[in-house]
Point group: C2
Chain length 308, copies 2
């Protein structure tokens, strides 16, 4: 992987579906190009990408198509954590081979109340199976969804056992005290906050950026704070981002992101989600757009060739 | 699938691993034969099978090998519920094609607090994709692990929309009041309790059997209660099973099952689990065996050709 570590604003890239719910790779390529043009990195296969609603074969296929289409793998941090170490190792290996900058790795998430010993063994087994010095892992701590947390103790053991391989974390706990404790305990840990609501606090505490749902629809706005966090206007920029985030967060996030993308880009197909998620209704979308626009928000527009 | 619905005692079949943690299919075949000889049905790829620690490709491969080896598919109810409807549909289709009696289907379990509408859509999409009249689904309600419950309302909708396809449930909630409410609400629902601790109560309330971890090590003992639940001695049989269950339940269940299998069969490799689970230590195993034997328990012995 890259000698240049990835920083800044990264989107857990939403995944466009055709009417039959298959992945629209052509649209994904166009959308990724637009995100890159907004200075936004690409965490394809994150939670907001509906990654765990995609088959492993679909993830392998889309990752290859994106790189083949010229999307810069140096700007990519695909999610590769599956329930099975076999599948996690396969997807991670492919990401390394394709030259991705790093991977974002969920712990195995089916079994609950597992021990730190067991989670350490799972990460260790994947690292050994990939067996590639280029591998860089960001631990994905998202207890509200995965229900399997990555503790400080586990992080310490992984950083010690695999320096240069386990390099960072995305903290999507929504708990600033956890982010802070991680940053204080491990100055070498490259910390991405999991929401732009914590971006300014994260940068002030030594973080390196954010990987946030809203970056899908507001990459430039969030990047503005990232670029200017040391300026006098930073708190105002943060406040402005918080108002947009608030409107999004009071809805189911993934359907809301896709509804916003559909509304502003004119690609109605964007609103499709795979079950068990459900698309917003027209009324819910109208209410969301109205609330967003009261904050002054408007998604920058991009085009793609075809719509469905 | 079969016109004869499966009933009685079914084991969520534990999965034997070689030293490199690959699946030992030969051993699995021998073990499944033994379970069948004990009048025990086969829910391969259940929670206790570490199914979600197996790759989809491994599950497809093992299922085929079992049937090719002559394991009767009429006695099989493989678990087929994955996070992705694409993978669930693929595994379910293969199970139907191989002639399995039924499938046990988890809801998609990564996203939490999803709506019943979304879960209904997920099951509906899988049923439509499989598109085979032979399909029979048992809904797998296991909120302590999946963290995605199958409500009474969802069950009602599925039974109504897919009669003859959605035929039953495994209730692993550990909450007898839920089992009872399901049985009262849906007399046509074929209910397997998720633990033999509820077997007698379940049969008395109209259930059809149990799919229980302990059936892996005590199939004949549990079958004795199933065969004799209407006799005077049934309460004593239940009490005796409960004492064995109690010893198992105070340990991590899957490592405990495998430790017991390793101890009594002499196949030391049985103790292996995939991370994030961890095998019991020698001391933990000795303490478990000692506690089990105080109840009079002893696992029936079977042999296989090779050990690892």
């Amino acid at each position: 992987m890259s000698s240049q570590d990835i920083s800044g604003v990264i989107a857990p890239v939403i995944t466009p579906f055709r009417p039959d719910l298959s992945i629209d790779a052509e649209h994904s390529i166009a959308y990724c190009r637009w995100l890159l043009s907004q200075n936004c990195g690409l965490a394809v296969f994150g939670t907001n990408s509906e990654a765990n609603s995609l088959a492993l074969s679909e993830r392998l296929d889309l990752l290859e198509k994106l790189v083949e289409a010229g999307i810069d793998p140096e700007r990519m941090m695909p999610g590769t954590g599956c329930c099975s170490i076999v599948e996690t190792a396969e997807l991670t290996t492919r990401a390394v081979q394709l030259g991705c900058n790093a991977v974002l790795m969920l712990p195995p998430f089916y079994y609950k109340t597992v021990s730190d010993d067991g989670l350490f063994a799972a990460y260790a087994e994947v690292i050994e199976r990939v067996g590639d010095e280029r591998l860089k892992i960001y631990l994905y701590h998202i207890p509200p969804v995965a229900q399997v947390p990555i503790s400080i103790g586990l992080t310490e053991r992984l950083l010690k056992a695999y320096p240069g391989t386990v390099v960072g974390m995305k903290d999507s706990s929504g708990d600033w005290s956890n982010t802070q404790a991680m940053l204080e305990a491990f100055p070498e840990l490259r910390m991405f906050v999991g929401s732009e609501a914590f971006l300014l606090a994260g940068m002030r505490a030594g973080g390196v950026g954010c990987i946030s749902a809203s970056a899908n629809i507001n990459p430039d706005g969030i990047d503005a704070l990232y670029r200017n966090w040391q300026t006098d206007g930073a708190d105002d920029l943060q406040e402005s981002l918080n108002r947009i985030r608030q409107a999004m967060q009071s809805r189911p996030m993934i359907p809301a992101l896709k509804a916003v993308a559909a509304h502003y880009t004119g690609h109605a197909g964007w609103s499709r989600v795979r079950p068990p998620l459900m698309a917003l209704s027209d009324n819910e979308t109208a209410s969301l757009i109205s609330e967003l626009e009261k904050t002054g928000f408007k998604m920058a527009v991009y085009t793609k060739g075809t719509d469905y």
